[in-house]
Amino acid sequence: MTGTAVYLYAVACGPDRPVPEGLTGVSGTPVLTVEHAGLTAIVSSVPLAEYGADALRDKLDDLVWLERTARAHHAVVVAVAQVAATAPVRLTTIFHDCRQVAGLLDDRGGQIRQALARVAGHAEWGVKVYGDSRRPSPEPEPITAGSPGTAYLRQRNRQRRGAEQAARQLAAHTGRIHDTLAARATAVHTHRPQDPRLSGHSGIMLSNTAYLVADRECAGFTAAAEQLGAAVTGVEVEVAGPWPAYSFATLQDP
């Protein structure tokens, strides 16, 4: 397949030239803007041979391609979000041409403006809470009285109760951490805990949450998260950010 299509990264409040000079996109071509209806769409040209619907299905299975595309997409969104309120668009959203992008700004302009108003002056912070795997498990009590069978069952019961109690305690800690951080945030989005094979962390991920935090609250938010991580035993708190507001740039029904 020959020809090109238009890849959409984000929509920014505009038109205030939110794209730095020399910025290139997912396929190495310059990042451009489509300014329409008081909004600025951030786009670049991509080859249909790579980004057409059929080609894309294969490409998305290719982890090297996926990583390169995701990082290039992210780099464009970060560059724009530094200078303007930005609603990032989901990975690989592709149009036939710029006229269709302008049509989108007409059709969905109201909803996009609402999303932009929600995220303006805010950044997204990711907070993961892990159960600390280095925490030693309680010593089993020695088997003393009764038949070996009874003693064995008694010990198994004790271990089970201990594990249940520990799990309840971790859940309570996680809830308290969340409540404290949510009080400093404008909005909260819960992501699924990541598979340990992907998180690269030996502990069990208890929660994986995104918080939308006002720029002026950021220092207080990260300080609170670090302080909670240090103060609560048995858990580890990992903070990542600031992110562009990916988890909060969602369109509400008109």
Partner: protein, 56 residues
């Protein structure tokens, strides 16, 4: 937003959490293609497979 993040390499899994499940979702006749829920499954499977491969 502060520029802190631009200089550092973010974890791919965190990025995919956001790029494949977050962001503005657009659909309709105008659009050639978009990442969907299926894509999340596909990409995470690819990630897990590659991680297991590295561990072997």
């Amino acid at each position: 937003m502060h520029p802190d993040l631009s200089g550092t390499q973010v974890a791919l899994v965190d990025l995919l959490d956001r790029l494949l499940a977050g962001g503005v979702v657009l659909s309709g006749d105008l659009i050639i293609s978009i990442a969907g829920v299926d894509l999340v499954r596909v990409s995470l499977r690819a990630l897990i497979t590659s991680t297991e491969h590295e561990l072997r």
